[in-house]
């Protein structure tokens, strides 16, 4: 019964704002101090025992970061408020992630228990990695997958134990020079996942990573690389929270996906950052012949999120998809979108982006679709719908679709809507209080996308939306 997972659901996950708004005092064994310089990078390399090639890579990236200007000429001026000299770039407990929760330090374990991570693992996940500030505290995968040759480890372990796979693709989908924040991540990255799925292996349950910021004035720079070999399939989910601090916190991840011929990667994000987090993330997938990359992205919380998941459609008949939901409340700007770069014939892409702006919240959609002249049989469909809750809410759409030649087809639809007073009255006449009527309308607005999330997440999403809608009325 599809309706079973409707409005009223049992809370399976506990990652709402209030549940995430706590932190424990933790003694860190590694602390790179405040500010960013070549010494910071050396500290990180020494702590992580990086090979020389990586130290060189990081330093080149640092140069790029220091050289590149902030993209305030097109993006939010708020970026200028990040004080890079006041951020702590590396904080870790230890260098080795526990394979069982018993090996995880007590206060870190308590954090993840409170967030419900071990419980989810038992219920429906094939593997979990739990990152606490800079490093993974826990990483484990079902034995059956290990036996099939699936690799699911932290990025450090990945580059040490599987250098031949790691180096081949690391920094290839998103080179450090891609943008200032990709460069920053490349210079100081730590944590994140490395996944390799061997040819033909279909991982039926999702692999999950949970990214937790615990420390104040901290920057989290995880780096994820997923390689799905020919004909394989994998779903990866990430959840993110941080407590509410007075000072700004920075989260700047880089995620690279490689779908080799015939492979399918689905990457699902549910982020619920506290409102002081700058979330500046670069995510890009490469799809070879007949491969598919799907980004399912839900952005709730943060002060400013800039995130435009991309798919480079490199092989014939490759498919790319971005489904995204953004919810901007007062004091928040969700600047999100998608990029589809068509580089081969008969490639198809689909973008469905829905945003909700509440109170003074602002959401922007930025899209880029490119289909060059020499290609034929390519298709893109872009739909972006914005819902404004209050008269002070704001939305902007910047779609950039470049189609050259006449042998491909693109379709673009955009809409802006408001929940009408008549709609609310209608629902109230059936006995629903005003706030519930609002929540139900908003849930209805995103319903077709929420259905794409695994059941456990879609229930949680509905609940997060309800929470955000509280107090939006009046």
């Amino acid at each position: 019964m599809a309706e079973e997972q409707g409005i009223a659901g049992e809370d399976l996950l506990q990652l709402d704002r209030s549940a995430g708004d706590f932190h424990y005092d933790v003694k860190y064994a590694y602390d790179a101090g405040v500010g960013l310089s070549e010494e910071t990078v050396d500290y990180i390399c020494d702590a992580k025992n990086d090979p020389t090639w990586l130290r060189d890579f990081r330093k080149r990236a640092l140069e790029i970061f220091l050289r590149e200007p902030l993209p305030t000429h097109w993006a939010s001026e708020q970026l200028a408020e990040i004080d890079f000299s006041q951020i702590r770039y590396y904080l870790a407990h230890g260098q080795r992630a526990g394979r069982s929760w018993d090996e995880v330090p007590e206060e870190v374990k308590r954090t993840f228990e409170r967030l419900g991570v071990p419980e989810q693992e038992r219920k429906f996940l094939a593997g979990v990695e739990a990152q606490f500030d800079s490093e993974a505290a826990y990483s484990n995968m079902k034995e059956a997958l290990r036996a099939q040759g699936v690799i699911f480890v932290g990025s450090t372990e990945g580059l040490h134990k599987h250098p031949e796979l790691f180096r081949k693709w690391f920094g290839k989908v998103i080179p450090p020079g891609d943008n200032k924040f990709a460069a920053l991540n490349s210079a100081v990255f730590s944590g994140g996942s490395f996944i390799y799925v061997p040819p033909g292996v279909k991982v039926s349950h999702p692999l999950q990573a949970y990214f937790r910021i615990n420390a104040e004035s901290f920057g989290q720079f995880e780096r994820t690389l997923i390689i799905a070999d020919e004909g394989s399939e994998v779903t990866y989910m990430e959840g993110c929270t941080a407590p509410r601090f007075d000072t700004a916190t920075l989260h700047s991840a880089v995620v690279e996906l490689v779908a080799l011929p015939g492979a399918k990667i689905q990457y699902i994000t549910v982020q619920n950052w506290s409102p002081n987090v700058f979330n500046l993330v670069t995510k890009r997938g490469m799809a070879m012949e007949n491969a598919e990359v799907r980004w399912i992205d839900c952005n709730i919380g943060s002060r400013l999120t800039m995130k435009y998941p991309a798919v480079i459609l490199r092989g014939r008949k490759a498919r790319g998809e971005v489904l995204s939901i953004a919810l901007a409340n007062s004091g928040q700007h969700q600047d999100t979108g998608a990029k589809m770069i068509h580089l081969a014939d008969e490639t198809t892409s689909n973008i469905i982006a829905k945003s909700i702006s509440i109170g003074e919240g602002r959401s922007s959609y930025r899209g880029m679709v490119r289909i060059p002249n020499h290609l034929k049989g390519c298709k893109n469909n872009t739909e972006c719908d914005a819902l404004l809750i209050n008269t002070s809410s704001r939305t902007d759409t910047y779609p950039a679709i470049t189609l050259r030649g006449n042998r491909s087809a693109v379709q673009h639809e955009a809409s802006v809507s408001k929940i009408s007073a008549e709609q609310i009255f209608y629902m109230r006449q059936r006995g629903l209080p005003e706030s519930e009527a609002m929540s139900l309308s908003v849930n209805g607005f995103v319903n077709d996308l929420v259905r794409e999330f695994p059941m456990e997440y879609s229930v949680e999403l509905k609940r997060l939306i309800d929470l955000e809608m509280e107090g939006s009325v009046g």
Binding site: R430, G431, E436
Partner: protein, 262 residues
């Protein structure tokens, strides 16, 4: 036990629409209000249910003795007022079943949660009785519905929410004969000593299928004539013309000065 409307005056913006309506609908009774377009019939329905666009300037409405007008629209609904809308709103992405679940949940005491199994049993029982396909309940409420489907959805909601006082606002307008029968059947099934109905209609047609106990004629914001079912037939024969001539202008109306109904 009754829905008691007493000397009700209401306006939208600066325009007075209801000019002193008094009417008592007892449990077990079905009243029909007929009248020409613009006479204020729909306004009466909206004012009783608490539409925010209307301002009550005088009078009262009591539901089983409890004053209704200071309550929020959703409270009134939970007290037992149901309005079948003339133009039901589209609620995209929310299925009929989920919407009704939320509405049923809202009627439970705090902390109590709806039994999903019981809910669906009841839903399918009602749908079967109304001759509706079960998959209708998984369609988003009113989104892209035909006029007839919208009215069916209203009747299904009424059947599920079991009001004490059901108000149908021109539910028959624009319906073909089959849809009309569904609507009439939906009302007739619920009729009984525990429920009162107020049926607002422009035409006699619906009253061929739902026989009212009382018929009232409304012109220019007042009830100008009341009687039994035969009054509806009379109106059908003679039209509203003569009544409008008599009561059409507030200046001409014999009741204008007192604002009460004869």
């Amino acid at each position: 036990m009754s829905l008691q409307i007493c000397d009700l005056h209401a306006r939208i913006a600066d325009r007075e629409i209801l000019r002193g309506i008094s009417l008592e609908i007892r449990l077990g009774q079905t009243h029909a209000i007929m009248g020409p377009n613009g006479s204020g019939k729909s306004t009466l329905a909206k004012v009783i249910s608490g539409h925010p666009d209307y301002e009550v300037t005088q009078g009262s409405v009591l539901l089983d003795g409890v004053p209704l007008l200071e309550r929020e629209p959703d409270e009134r609904a939970r007290m037992g007022v149901f309005l079948a809308f003339q133009y039901p709103c589209e609620i995209p992405g929310v299925s009929i079943a989920n919407f009704l679940r939320a509405a049923a949940q809202a009627r439970l005491p705090e902390g109590e949660s709806l039994s999903v199994t019981d809910f669906y049993q009841k839903l399918y029982r009602e749908m079967d009785a109304l001759g509706m396909q079960r998959n209708f309940s998984s369609r988003p409420l009113n989104a892209g519905f035909s006029g007839g489907e919208k009215k069916r959805a209203e009747i299904l909601q009424m059947a599920m929410l079991r009001p004490r006082y059901g108000i149908l606002d021109e539910t028959d307008s624009g319906l073909d004969i089959d849809a009309l029968k569904v609507v009439a059947n939906g009302v007739n099934r619920l009729r009984g000593p525990e429920v009162g109905f107020l049926i607002i209609t422009h035409y006699q047609r619906l009253l061929d299928y739902i026989t009212p106990d009382f018929v009232h004629v409304m012109v220019e914001g007042r009830i100008v004539q009341s009687g039994g079912p035969e009054l509806a037939l009379e109106l059908e024969r003679h039209g509203y013309g003569s009544l409008e001539e008599r009561y059409g202008s507030s200046k001409l109306s014999p009741l204008a000065e007192t604002g009460t109904q004869g």
